[in-house]
Symmetry: C2
Subunit: 145 residues, 2 copies
């Protein structure tokens, strides 16, 4: 029920981020968009793609990602973060695979920004870009398992 | 004189960003690193490269960018931003060229994050990734001229 989902209150940036990646793995557009702030200043950059801004355009782009029915399997690891009372910046490594082909996995680096508003924490920036293939073996051996 | 540069106080995120891109175009490592926060939680991602964190590692990577003597010509356009009293997030389009070959220009999307501390505003995140070749013609005709 989208109306309910849009009123989800995330009490922390971590809650918002967990909901974002869960929705991504489920291919659940409504749950994913419930994490985003409804703001024209929001920015989403898919790996290798251009900059998309504004809630409606970002929703359209995610709808397209999910439209082929392909399910994504996303493992994410928070590498570092900066939090202040109103804004949180997370640096995340993602490992993206397809549910039907576990051998194909691509490393992605993401910068996620969340802001605190009347409805809790919401995402305003998701900047994802392809990482070199050796990212998991060299950059973060201690956190991926 | 690096000591002086390190004490540069940027009164706004805009001032820090202007100094960052000026230093980048001049190939001036000291001025560039004066913009960065001296913090282990800083993150720098060069287009197509892995995630680098911490002041020392970020400095080493920029030193390598500048080491071949190749000068970069960088035009940047702020597309959108989110500011709160302690943190500023800028979404920037960069157009990067080589001084000795103006015909080669590559579009890059950057997310820059600045935080306010005792010494004014400093950069804590620079996430840059290659943008599609048609970025300037389709995404932002109104701001690039």
């Amino acid at each position: 029920m989208p109306t309910t989902l849009k009123k989800t209150i995330f009490a922390s940036p971590q809650d918002a981020e967990a909901a974002f990646y869960e929705a991504l793995s489920r291919g659940d557009l409504e749950a994913l968009m419930a994490v985003w702030a409804e703001d024209e200043e929001t920015v989403c950059i898919h790996p290798g793609s251009g900059r998309i801004s504004g809630y409606a355009a970002i929703r359209d782009a995610w709808a397209q990602v999910f439209s082929n029915g392909q399910r994504l399997n996303v493992r994410h690891t928070l590498q570092s973060h900066h939090h202040d009372p109103l804004t949180a910046v997370h640096s995340v490594l993602e490992e993206i695979g397809l549910h039907n082909d576990p051998s194909q996995r691509a490393p992605v680096i993401a910068t996620n920004v969340y802001v605190r508003g009347a409805l809790g924490w919401r995402m305003i920036v998701h900047h994802a870009s392809p990482a070199p293939p050796d990212t998991f073996s060299t950059d973060a051996p201690q956190v991926l398992h």
